[in-house]
Subunit: 352 residues, 3 copies
């Protein structure tokens, strides 16, 4: 793939400051940069690199363009401009259509034109796949699942029975869509499984990371909205819903029947209890344990940040000594004739 | 599958209040409910729905039956009654026996009657499988493993060499049973792996969730007792044991050589250090970090619940300032002529 | 495999106290121990077992050898001595070379002599594999990946395009090497994916656990140094590097562009934010949330250890009441005419 800067500027609505006939054949980091390739300024602290890059062109903001010694493509949001342009040069998702002879495609499955099914992939009866979809090596698509057009299942992806994927869904290896929800009833003889007869329904333009698992619903479907981006090693319990354009970083666990709004940002390793609601546009910082519902737009945190082990141990001892510390304050108040104000504090304990 | 209410009542020992000849063909949620189907009351806060459901019958407690406009199946524990009855209508585990032509079953493996082995599944030499067991697409069963009757390995399940599964074990995709334990010795040239020659032994009626991993033992086997239920994305280290009927929610990590008792309940995202013991019937709340052994029946917690980011930041600053706060209390005590009582507190620090 | 104690002593440079002609055929735990097998003293608290073991020989320190009733192999570091000797008897990694007929090996892939490729394994075009490498059932090796000599990919391992593995790399099932990095730019219409055109480069003698995932870099490669040992269920984000001989326990998550030094020890369930540096020889205790860079050799902690649920709830209430507690101290100071010293504490809040 080789494209001129002029073509890129007009196709992606960027302002070119430089030679429209210069040819770009790929992307590169800003430093050192590679002749014939396109870079962008990821982090404004790296602005000093603008004068040193060997890239043929750089996507920058208007404010930074002046410092550039080479051709500039000026974008309001350079990261976004870069993301769009760089897809031209990304070889990841190119493939030749066809069914590999070691794929197992049931006669009662339907595949649209332009699809690829790799070796050791399995497509069961009743599955419907749209056009131009890539089903990589070792993927398993269970009976009656529906997969839209232009999806990309990298390999080793598992799609459970009756699950549905929209258009342009991209799933990384080891992801499991439609695993059994964890629903149990106690009996005198041990746990009895509550059947989980729902499925998982995934919208358009969703990305799902490696080794992420999404349980199917008890009755209705677990739902992942349009444009949702899920990183690796995420767990989403049965009956959950995740609203459109929400982005969730790696290692997050969401217990069953919790509903996450639209455009929510969830940092890494967040845990969210079951049967809660997280409002639209909320932001959950990394490592937070969410124990109650969160209103729209709220920014929440909760992790205890690291310290030196010595300081951390002293802190834990201080916390273990809080009862005694409060007693000492009470004793001081008594001696000073000040009325303490902490009576009744234990009344709140039901709320935790 | 179509069954009359009369048959259901007699088979599951429920009290029918309504038409014994009414036919049930499936399950549904209480609201809106579906004619011809069976619902149950999941959550007593939803009792108002009893008068509105369109389900043909509902499993309820005696106390709630009066509010129902349709047929009632009365159970002491409606969730348990539902779990048992609903399995009649769950199509998940039905299959036609047979070996798929793209399965790889070693000539030196033995399979009982009624088994299924799916495409891209691999069964190595020396494996023994009982009767009526389902080994889904892409499963790998390594040499000399033993799998009991009526097991269900959904697909993409990995069972390591010499591992043993009891009867009716159910494993979800991406689960790895018998991965190498993390045992290392330091040498001047780096880490040397300590061989892990044990396996994993799993009892009867165990459920294992998606992308869960259980390491094999160093010498003896890692053991999972009868009736244990493991959710998704759980990690169980080498040499651990988990007692009968213990239930563990998603994203829990248990380090090596820890022994969990029977009927323990472990919430999501709990971490448990190695070489500990958790007693029978203990309950570990979600997000807790377990650093010492826990006696039987103890209820433990430890997560810091989320707050607004502003409150959380102020709390962290207050914690960082605890040394100063304690100094201020000491100064006040000195001024008031009160003898402080916190000398020697650092003596406890070895215990953490 | 049967070896005399004399052979073992000379081959591994151990001091034999006993019969050089005694034959060892395997390993066993110290207690009860098995005749014909070799044990070692794992934990000095178990020293009492030295006089009771039925093992034919035990690897011990010089100090403990006297208590042994049977043959002793004396090592400075018994765990290390055992790790090395025990590999003689470990059947795990033995295999017959060959390509299984149900493997899919592209004609444009190159494999060295002595390799095995199992059923349902897939090797795409342009892949190069060294000699004596084992590629287990269901592994997927994407185009142009390079795998060194004597590697062991247990089964269900996924290696992404262009990724590179050094010599003697050992990977457990479900591991994903080279998944897409989580790089997104916001647009008015939702997230736009930033192409991730780098790969993952793994050094020699690396071990990678079950269901661990390592993302490929945005431009350059995510790098895992020589001798690194990764446990199960670890997530390593794009553009990270992990220095030589670092060991990371299970369930750790490392966000993108973080650089971990050499010989670092990271405990289970640690979370590390993105764009940080952890210095050589640092030690991170289990459950710590790392929010800033850590200097070399530093020992850090941060988890809140478990308590009884009652104590934990009281602690949370006390923490929620910290504002009030500090006010009470201020009031006492005012009454005592002592100048408070906590003004300006909020200035630090930007640092969190």
């Amino acid at each position: 793939m080789a494209v001129t800067l002029g073509e890129i500027a007009s196709r992606f609505d960027l302002t070119l400051k430089g030679d429209a006939s210069a040819v770009i054949e790929g992307v590169c980091p800003l430093l050192p940069g590679t002749p014939g390739r396109l870079a962008y300024l990821v982090d404004r602290r790296l602005r000093a690199g603008l004068s040193q890059t060997q890239a043929t062109a750089v996507i920058v903001s208007a404010a930074d363009a002046a410092q550039l010694q080479t051709h500039a493509l000026i974008a309001k949001d350079p990261a976004l401009g870069y993301a769009r342009v760089a897809q031209l040069f990304d070889p990841t998702y190119r493939f030749e259509p066809g069914l590999h002879p070691l794929a197992s495609v049931d006669a009662a499955a339907q595949l649209g034109p332009g699809c690829y099914v790799g070796p050791a992939a399995v497509i069961e009866a009743g599955v419907q796949v749209g056009r131009d979809t890539y089903i990589g090596p070792g993927c398993v698509i269970r009976r009656d699942a529906r997969i839209g057009d232009a999806c990309w299942l990298s390999g080793h992806v598992y799609i459970g029975p009756h699950c549905q994927l929209g258009l342009r869904v991209h799933i990384e290896p080891g992801a499991v869509i439609g695993s059994r929800g964890f629903g149990l009833a106690r009996s005198p003889d041990g746990w009895v499984e509550i059947p989980q007869v729902g499925a998982v329904r995934i919208g358009n333009d969703v990305e799902i990371g490696a080794n992420t698992s999404i349980d199917r619903g008890t009755f209705a479907d677990t739902e992942i909205g349009d444009g949702v981006k899920l990183d690796n090693q995420i767990q989403i319990g049965h009956n959950c819903s995740v609203g459109a354009h929400t982005a969730i970083a790696a290692c997050v666990g969401i217990a069953g029947s919790t509903h996450i709004g639209a455009r929510v940002l969830i940092g890494g390793a967040v845990g969210i209890n079951g049967h809660l609601t997280v409002g639209d546009d909320a932001v959950l910082l990394a490592g937070t344990m969410v124990t109650k519902s969160i209103p729209a737009k709220m920014l929440v945190g909760g992790a205890l940040p690291h310290q030196s082990a010595k300081d951390w141990r002293r802190l834990i001892i201080q916390l273990r000594g809080m009862d005694r510390t409060l007693e000492r304050i009470r004793a001081l108040e008594k001696a000073a004739g000040i009325k303490g104000a902490d009576e009744g504090e234990s009344l709140e304990s039901d709320e935790i």
